[in-house]
Symmetry: C2
Subunit: 417 residues, 2 copies
């Protein structure tokens, strides 16, 4: 074993022991631990801001972009928001212990499926140090032990936040190893983490596409993530033109850098008002890359290349195509989509239901902006990520996605004939 494998084996075993200890902790105790952790974040303000200043100085020296420096930066206000978010997670209902279903058998055995924590969760993330607190809080609220691995550019900030969180958790009598931070910034440690199968139950990457791609490629541990958010909006022939414009403009332009942003607009050839729809997007400053039929509608549109249909722009650019009907729209989505969020705009309920049934996306929406693809907007109270995988948890993932279940069988001495 390499040093990093040894390190990860040691952290993994301590995490599993902490996870076992958490199995006899009540929901109240977990909430109290998080409240204490939030207080500790506030009490350690000086230390955390000083650590962050050092990260920022190093980042400037090393030439990090302004955008990256902004993601890295913590001031008094941001630290307060981080602590408040931890308190907010403490107040969320604990999914653990809920009975999913119950079944009494003719022989008197009672079978229940009961929600239990998932186990040990590995989080691999980049610059934003708030993830250290966020992910630890979501993991602990649902009874899991977490192993956190942040970006090297934020290591001092992450250490300071982690130290405060652990201080709070320990003061409430919970095991310190429930929240561990990988202290080394060596990239090989990530490799060891991705292969720690049997110790880490699931890896959740939070960051850019290259991070997610590396994790998905190398992991021997299940990964919960989405690589792309190539979200489509299909404007049906019976779409209401006002709704179509409002939804398409919002889905593309509200924030262009989020995974729920529309990247491709599919317009039914029988939709009566495609011109005003394209105009609205163009007038908002969106570049429209269209097929021939689209380009005939407005001289400001440009020609789409083959790769446009598979591109997540995360920018004020949209690819646009005229389609012959719902079948062609669904075929386009099946061919080019990323199973994230796809939208149908129509006043025809039967078309909407067909789209809902046949689009193979984690989230399908009818007459709403794809920018709603977010755990908070879904009423989950928080979000650890969005999954485009098919197993375990799909779409926005919050506390329930960090649990599994066990079967509890209660008998009175039954034996099997």
């Amino acid at each position: 074993m390499s040093d990093h494998q040894h390190l990860m084996a040691d952290m993994g075993q301590r995490a599993r022991a902490a996870f076992a200890a958490l199995s006899s902790v009540t929901s109240q105790q977990k909430a109290a631990a998080l409240t204490a952790a939030a207080s500790a974040l506030r009490e350690n303000e000086t230390e955390i801001l000083a650590a962050n200043t050092k990260d920022m100085e190093k980042g400037r020296t090393e030439g990090l972009s302004d955008a990256m420096l902004d993601r890295l930066m913590i001031d008094k206000e941001r630290l307060d928001a981080i602590a408040s978010a931890v308190e907010q997670v403490a107040s969320l209902p604990d999914p653990v212990g809920a009975i999913i279903d119950r079944n009494e058998r003719p022989n008197g055995l009672i079978m229940e499926r009961v929600r239990v924590p998932l186990g040990v969760i590995g989080i691999i993330y980049e610059s934003r140090p708030n993830v250290t607190a966020d992910a630890a809080a979501l993991g602990l609220r649902s009874g899991n032990a977490v192993i956190l691995r942040g970006g090297s550019e934020a290591i001092k900030s992450n250490r300071a936040i982690h130290k405060a969180m652990v201080e709070g958790v320990a003061s409430a009598g919970l095991p310190e190893d429930a929240i561990q931070l990988v202290q080394t910034t060596d990239r090989a440690a990530v490799g060891a983490m991705l292969k720690a199968s049997g110790l880490i139950d699931i890896i959740i990457p939070r960051g850019g596409k290259s991070l997610v791609a590396r994790v998905q490629e190398e992991a021997r541990v299940p990964v919960l993530a989405h690589l792309d958010g190539i979200c489509h909006t299909y404007i049906g022939r019976a779409a209401d033109p006002d709704k179509a414009i409002a939804i398409a403009v919002n889905a593309k332009m509200r924030r262009t850098g989020v995974c729920g942003a529309m990247e491709t607009l599919l317009i039914d050839q029988d939709y009566p008002a495609p011109g005003p729809l394209l105009r609205a997007l163009l007038d908002e400053g969106c570049e429209v890359r269209g097929d021939d039929a689209i380009m005939e509608l407005d001289p400001r549109t440009v020609s789409a290349e083959t790769e446009d249909w598979d591109t997540e722009y995360l920018a004020p650019i949209v690819s646009a195509r005229m389609v012959g009907g719902i079948d062609e729209a669904l075929t386009h989505i099946a061919t080019h989509g990323s199973h994230h969020t796809d939208v149908v705009v129509t006043e025809d309920e039967s078309v909407a239901n067909q789209f809902i049934q046949r689009a193979d996306s984690a989230i399908v929406m009818w007459n709403a902006s794809s920018q709603f693809a977010d755990g908070g907007e879904f009423g989950l109270g928080a979000e650890i990520g969005i999954s485009t995988g098919r197993l375990h948890a799909r779409g926005p993932v919050a506390l329930e996605g960090l649990t599994t279940y066990k079967w509890v069988v209660r008998g009175t001495g039954q034996v099997r004939p």
Copy 2:
């Protein structure tokens, strides 16, 4: 790409197309297809039995054991049972379309989680040709496409059963590619299947430990399985002696070769009647391998070696240990168990609840025999396997475990502020 990768890419793409087509098929149509498949199995009796006779002849020539030949053999009665099992699956409630939860947001958006099929399921199995029909039926009932890969010793039988199943499915208007059988017996095809990530959503191995171990080791696709069933029965100090004897003897001796069979007996040092318990097992012909405290109780017991605590005997042998209390019992299970099925026998409800909460097993039982670990006994109507993994589905897995969900969001033109 190798030939096998080409083959699997082709089968995978055809399976995905069939899966997409299945998304607009009703529950009634799926049931009708399975009923037709069952009829086709009966109608093709001559062909199937002839194919099986050839497999049996080849098996005898190649020196297969009697046990393997028995697993391979199909006669009129067994074929009837296979067809009846398919009809039984057709009659099970379809999990697809069920609404898991529903949430109306203040902005009027309605969020529902709706059960949908998982996708493309790969089944890798050994000698028993009935799995060809079983697995195909369970997969199709829940709207999935399946790719089946059986053992080379049963290839002619599997081909004949598969042909009949497809005939039935096609006659009901469903896509033939919903049920595909890997026609080559080359082992490299399994390797290609295990790496067909993006085409196959989940692999379910059904067979002996070496098959499961290979699949878990090599797969780049999620695997649903259990490697070991090292099941424990902990006899608490407050156990009822009659129940303790009945449960332990049944858990061990009813059928020793099943994954739910007890392999280790943990007796609380304060349990008043350990002698009669051991005697009952010994009298039934069970070999008892004990620690020193156990060996003092009966001269017929033998000494357990270190590896006994980690051994799944699948034979009339049990390892037995005296433990200081529930903590020691749970520590033993955490150290040596396989997260399959673990049992507590006690009349003390608080001890039972502690065990239920703290034992990290897919199935925890109170006062019942671990031999109940079976989907049929759990009321699931069928079983495709038992999972000791923590994600997606745990314990006995039937139709619901072959589904996932999608989020369906219904709006009236909402855009995100």
